[in-house]
Amino acid sequence: MNAKQIHRFVERYLEATGCTILEKSPVHFKVKLSPAADRELTNRPYYWSFVDRTGVEPETMSLLLVTDAAKYDAMTAEAESAGAGAGGPQGGAAEQAGMAALSRSFGFVPAGLGTRMPRDDLHFGSRRLEQLFAAARRGGRFVCLFQQPDERALHPYDSAPCTPWLGVNVKVGFVCDMKREEMHAFGVSLATGTVVERFFDRLQGLKLSPRLPANVHVTGASLSLKKAADLIEQALLQKLKTYDYGWAAAANERLKEELARLAHYYEPLLKETDDKQREQIAAQYEARKEEILWQLKPRVVTEIVNAGVFHLSGLA
């Protein structure tokens, strides 16, 4: 993800959660969070439980989100030299001393704690961006949407049929002591049981709305969601069967070697020692075997990122 993509991502998140953008440039946002976004991003569970219980008007936080730190710094430096030092540096000496004291006690204090508008640089891998990613995932798990019909093509008295589809985004991990991942987007027609791939990309070109539009009627589903999930699992398995599993064979080979090495160490030891100690050593042996399986056993794991029901007119 480059700086531009991050900027676009942040902008869409802020809009979707109803935040108030106070100031923006191509490299930063100053934003007053909406209550929903504040709950997700500011890590203030006690404050929010207080608001919920007492019903007071919540005071949300404001953030400075910088999506390209280098350009932002250049921009502000320029503005500052133009304004000839109007407005002092953030935080006085007392505040800095306070921060230093906190950091002595805890080793590390996140930047911006205690300042009025904390600044976050959102590079890929930064904590704030990770948090936005996580917030998007929590806030976008299940949807139910209807395709808007193309208005010009329809006669006002006609009604276009819409077929329900189950769309699922699944992350597949190939894991041993290392890991590789893929994303797949499956769609299943709940009317016919047809399974398609790259479903998410198809959705992106469509106009979708959470409300059933006029001139549209929904056809019934003949497949249960459970059955549709079975179909997706089958399709995924079929796809995965065509892959190369050399990495798994290699991992199994290492696993076998490691277990043999353990046996070579522990089995004579078990024979030598007396009953009292043997139990202890046997337990240790078991623990080491478990650790090695945990570390090396090759497996393919799946994780559903999100899923939804989509009523589409174009697809059957």
Binding site: Q5, F9, R12, Y13, E15, A16, A100, R104, S105, F106, G107, H123, F124, G125, R127, L132, F133, A136, R137, G139, G140, R141, V143, C144, N169, G173, F174, D177, M178, K179, R180, E181, E182, M183, A185, Q204, L208, L225, L237, L240, Y243, Y245, G246, W247, A248, A250, H264, Y265, A287, R288, W294, Q295, K297, P298, R299, V300, T302, I304, V305, V309
Partner: protein
């Protein structure tokens, strides 16, 4: 957020799999919830967030088994080539279980952080436990947070054990009630710093680490072998039992003598599967230069008088004691202190006075010396140090051996309008950290009596004044190592202050000209001193004897020359027979240039 796939360590139940070599599991946790929301017609989430979630997951996708993902998440951080090479080797060839045994100052912490970060980014580590000496806890927390963006916390209260990334002291962790709690957990990764504390398998440290359940494990130590071969065996057994065979195999195959390995090549091969050791001398690791300047200080007539009086006093006592070196310790200290400050001498004299019997003739003599002290008005060395500090006009660290000198210097600098802070071994951790903060911030000068303590990193400072020189060269090296380490971007300027016509002049000559200490690498010095000790007495004692027994300046000079020669001979020996050193079997990682190891990826 990124749920780690806890492997089912028993056989999986479904039986469905795309290939007999792998287990397969299909996530169905979502079906019921989606069905319920459909039945109740809501609540539904936002379409934009749904799309953003997919976008975020796509961006985070780990598309390759091999490529280091951590680096693209750390734009502001540039590890050195040997650190990256080490991380790669641990990840790809060692399966995440390794002993990181780099020499001091090459960045073992960085390597461990890099490996941990990579596993976190790949979703293979969600919980990690980091056990370090108490004095290093906060430093680890700081490094992991600042350099690696890993939200590590220092263990303070019982509940902090529940954080995903906890840094704690090994001594705390192994005690109840913590021990039981930790043993009941599974840790995706365990890191132990200063792991040479785990060399004895009978200790509670060792048994505790052995019982902890962990997937990946890193043991960090600069000295994997300190005394004998068994230590090496124990350390490796902790990580990978059987790697060197059973205890009896090991003894038969690899041990010639307690301290001497045999079948070195095979041993090295076996070790290289679990251990990485980078050395300063291996090249590929560049340090800034050390610029050493010996600064001559002329004693004032009053100071010189005190020096001569103390020297006479000490030698007289020595002769009276029948030349017994062991009983002379405090007097030798006196001899060294007189080169540092009158305050240090005074304090030792007062203590000596208290210890001598009331009717002893010694008391009068001590009183005489105190009279000499009274006459001294200024400290010539301190004036010189002030001059240096004023000309560099930069952060400077002053090392002295003596508390009294430290106090004096702090006061002296304060009088001259220079902000200086103290640092000494006796301070508690919080105070040490506080002093470091002050030095990093407002203070220009740090006056330190201790250099050996773990965890003082002063890369931001590159001027160092040795106000007095310790007679033990290792202590000098430790001092320099605080400043001259990885991350130091400037050449380091070292000023050795020595007073003419005193023993100091000889010490400087020995350390600088004769053994060229200031340009030596750490491991080398260690080795030579150990050899010296095995052959004769430790260097400090030989120096003491020289001072006490020599007959005038020329005699000392001859003695120092002889000492220098024998050290250089030992050094030549050490170079000629590298195989005899136990250290030589430790596997060394040769740094591969970037890209050379971009092996073909096994694509599923």
């Amino acid at each position: 957020m990124h749920p780690i796939q806890r492997p089912d360590r028993r056989a999986s139940g479904t039986g469905k799999t795309p290939h007999p070599d792998v287990e397969f599991e299909f996530d169905r946790t979502w079906v019921d919830e989606l069905a319920e929301r459909t039945a109740r017609n809501g609540p539904w989430d936002d379409w934009t967030l749904f799309a953003l979630a997919v976008e975020a997951e796509r961006a985070k996708l780990v598309t390759s088994f091999d490529e280091l993902q951590a680096l693209r998440c750390l734009p502001a951080f540039e590890p050195m080539p040997h650190q990256i090479a080490t991380a790669r080797k641990v990840l790809h060839e060692m399966g995440g279980r390794a002993i990181l045994a780099d020499e001091v100052g090459l960045g073992k912490t960085i390597e461990a952080g890099l490996i941990l970060k990579e596993y976190i980014v790949r979703g293979l580590v969600r919980r990690a436990l980091i056990l370090v000496p108490a004095s290093l806890v906060l430093q680890w927390v700081r490094e992991l947070n600042q350099k690696f963006g890993i939200p590590a916390t220092a263990q303070k209260k019982a509940h902090s054990w529940h954080s995903d990334f906890v840094v704690a002291s090994l001594d705390t962790a192994k005690r109840e009630p913590h021990r039981e709690l930790l043993l009941s957990n599974d840790y995706d990764m365990l890191i132990v710093d200063e792991a040479h504390k785990l060399k004895n398998k009978k200790t509670s440290n060792y048994q505790f680490i052995q019982q902890l359940r962990k997937k990946y494990c890193l043991l960090l130590t600069a000295t994997p072998v300190q005394n004998d071969m068994d230590e090496l065996f124990n350390l490796i057994t902790l990580l990978k039992p059987g790697q060197l065979g059973g205890q009896s195999d090991f003894a038969a195959n690899f041990v010639a003598d307690k301290r001497l390995p045999k079948n070195e090549d095979r041993l090295q091969e076996a070790l290289s599967a679990v251990m990485i050791r980078n050395r300063r001398s291996d090249g590929g690791i560049s340090f800034t230069k050390r610029i050493v300047r010996n600064i001559e200080v002329k004693l004032s007539p009053e100071e010189k008088a005190l020096y001569d009086a103390v020297t006479g006093f000490v030698r007289q006592r020595y002769d009276e004691s029948g030349r017994d070196l062991a009983s002379m310790l405090s007097l030798i200290t006196l001899q060294r202190e007189v080169c540092s400050s009158r305050d240090a001498v005074f304090l030792t004299l007062v203590n000596l006075f208290k210890k001598t019997a009331e009717d002893s003739p010694m008391r009068a003599k001590i009183w005489e010396l105190v009279e000499f002290i009274r006459r001294i008005q200024a400290n010539s060395k301190a004036e010189k140090a002030l001059e240096i500090i004023r000309t560099t006009n930069d952060k400077t660290i002053i090392f002295t051996e003596y508390r009294a000198t430290q106090e004096y210097l702090l006061q002296f600098l304060k009088q001259h309008g220079i902000h200086a802070v103290p640092y000494r071994g006796g301070m508690n951790r919080g105070k040490k950290d506080w002093m470091m903060d002050l030095f990093r911030g407002r203070a220009q000068v740090l006056v330190a009596t201790e250099a050996g303590g773990e965890g003082i990193n002063l890369q931001f400072c590159h001027h160092m004044i040795n106000f007095d020189l310790p007679w033990n060269p290792m202590r000098v090296e430790q001092r320099i190592g605080r400043v001259h380490r990885l991350g130091q971007t400037n050449d380091v300027k070292i000023y050795n202050l020595y007073t003419t016509g005193t023993i100091e002049e000889h010490i400087v000559r020995l350390l600088h000209e004769k053994i060229n200490l200031f340009e030596m690498v750490v491991g080398e010095l260690d080795d030579i001193l150990e050899r010296l000790e095995r052959e004769e007495q430790p260097l400090e004692q030989r120096l003491a004897r020289l001072v006490l027994e020599s007959d005038g300046d020329a005699d000392i000079r001859r003695g120092i020359d002889a000492l220098g020669r024998s050290i250089n001979r030992l050094r030549a020996d050490a170079k000629r027979s590298p195989k005899s050193s136990l250290d030589s079997v430790l596997p060394v990682l040769s740094v591969v240039p970037d890209g050379a190891d971009a092996a073909a990826e096994a694509r599923p």
